[in-house]
Amino acid sequence: MRTDTQAPAAESPASAGPVRTRRKLPRPAPAALYLLGLLAAAALSALTGFSIALTAIYGVVLGTLAVYVAARLVEGRRKATDRLVTCLVWTAFALAMLPLVSLIYTVLDNGLARLDAEFFNSSMLGVVGEGGGAYHAILGTLVITGLTALISVPIGLLTAIYLVEYGTGRLKKAITFLVDVMTGIPSIVVGLFAFALFALFFGPGIRLGIMGAVALSVLMIPVVVRSAEEVLKLVPNELREASYALGVPKWRTILKVVIPTSIGGLATGTTLAIARVVGETAPLLVTTGFVNGTNLDPFSGRMTTLPVFSFYQLTQPGFPPEFGIERAWSAALVLIVLVMALNVLARLISRFFAPTTSR
């Protein structure tokens, strides 16, 4: 096997030893070459009128090229391809981070302006132009999300228990399949379902908080089922058998042994499921409607949630528009913080429970 391109100039000192070593680029060389490419790109873009986007594009191309050519000359074709792929993979990751950074920057930049006390303690009732807040929307989000969790968590957990502990045969297969299907239903379709369901009984003008909760439940239940199923399956069968061998009936075994053993995972999964529905907007547009005042009763009248509030403040900001737009961004910021907080909470829960459940 040929290990080496025959570049005549450089003599490899190590080739005298018993093991033939390939010539290698020194460890920091690729990074240095890449940096060189970036600098060249900055210079190039400065010539044509400096722009960050162009610098980045030129930089990636030139940097990758520099690394590839150097590796090709010194290390040979195979190693050069390997380095090329490494450059591409790193670039891809950086590229994926770009939207995340840009998004967080944009939301902070636009949203911090109106993140004041008034935003949290006043609603939009009677507000034209400046002022006003998302008090009603924040409460609406809490009420509707709470109601959703109240519906979804028991149904989801029980279904998971059915699938893991009791289910057999065709019914189990059918339910597993349909849970999969449910995870894929577009959220707007779920909204239409809830609307159609209630419209059938109350007429087409109906808009209620509970309609939103029903729609969100259809989205949340499959998420809860999936995660709970995974977690319950992790409980070793030996523990169930140990309990049965003590003469404990199955249902008590599930309640007292299986669930306590997996409680951390169940709580984590549920929190993540809540985080997922808390930002849902589309199904609420067609079910809960939109109001400016505070309504805490999900069984009568329209309700506003944070994402819907945010959407309408941006698309229908009123006059003059800048105040509505500011409120929209602040609501988006609060929403992101809420979702991130739930995600962090989920991590903390799983970390908190980890030592007791691991064996």
Partner: protein
């Protein structure tokens, strides 16, 4: 309190697969009965059929009779849960409940069955059971620590304490020492000899010396061939099995001349 077990014409199935065929034997109260044989010949399967743990596996069923002190275990009006309260089991791998302390593990059988008991009575039960399992002196200062934090041998004795805390009549043990070091193994063998004063014990083991040391009677299970059900080839007093077995196959297995 210990009970006699009579098994007649027992066939055990996993779905359509017949794992064990035609077992007939009688187990005397207050004795240790050892079951030996090559892997896969159905020892665990047979043992689990004695307290209906077998039914936990979907599709598993038995045909034939298991009678304990005159009562048919598989009678139509018998609740498997009640059976298991009378016939306890210790498994191959120690399996203390990871969410419970040592104390809670011992009283798990009582608590999980929601039998109401005074704290003092519980404390008493814990001490009695742990002493019974020769574990008391080692753990009495850390009863509130997780049971999973003990060593393998201690965990196994904890599982035995948990099993005897519900005062069963029979104790089934499926290779209880196979995951343990020699010292822990000896500790558990000593324990078994003490426990047989109060319980009927049936133990599956791959360790010939262990069977010879602790048991009164020994049953040898074997496979007729690949894919065939396992059978009880010979059931005799341990002394006879190890000195002068009736069957050639038994002798071959015991002397290690086994294919």
């Amino acid at each position: 309190m210990a009970k006699r077990i009579d098994v007649s014409d027992l066939d055990i199935y996993y779905g359509n697969f017949k794992a064990v065929e035609g077992v007939n034997l009688s187990i005397e109260p207050r004795s240790i009965t050892a079951l030996i044989g090559p892997s896969g010949c159905g020892k665990s399967t047979f043992l689990r059929s004695l307290n209906r743990m077998h039914e936990v596996i979907p599709g598993a069923r038995v045909e034939g009779k298991v009678v304990i002190d005159g009562q048919d275990l598989y009678g139509s009006d018998v609740d498997p849960v009640d059976v298991r309260r009378q016939i306890g089991m210790v498994f191959q791998r120690p399996n203390p409940f990871p969410t419970m302390s040592i104390y809670d593990n011992v009283v798990a059988g009582v608590r999980l069955n929601s039998t109401k008991m005074k704290r003092a009575a519980l404390d008493d039960l814990v001490e009695r059971s742990l002493r019974g399992a020769n574990l008391w002196t080692e753990v009495k200062d850390r009863l509130d620590r997780p049971g999973a934090g003990l060593s393998g041998g201690q965990q196994q004795r904890l599982c035995i304490a948990r099993a005897i805390a519900v005062e069963p009549a029979v104790l089934l043990m499926d290779e209880p020492c196979s995951a343990l070091d020699p010292i822990s193994t000896l500790a558990i063998e000593d324990l078994m000899t003490e426990l047989k004063e109060r319980f009927t014990i049936v133990i599956v083991t791959h360790n010939m010396q262990q069977a010879a040391r602790v048991s009164e009677s020994t049953g040898f299970f074997n496979l007729a061939g690949v894919g065939q059900p396992g059978r009880l080839v010979e059931f005799n007093p341990t002394e006879k099995i190890f000195s002068n077995p009736d069957q050639k196959a038994t002798e071959d297995y015991i002397s290690g001349r086994f294919g």
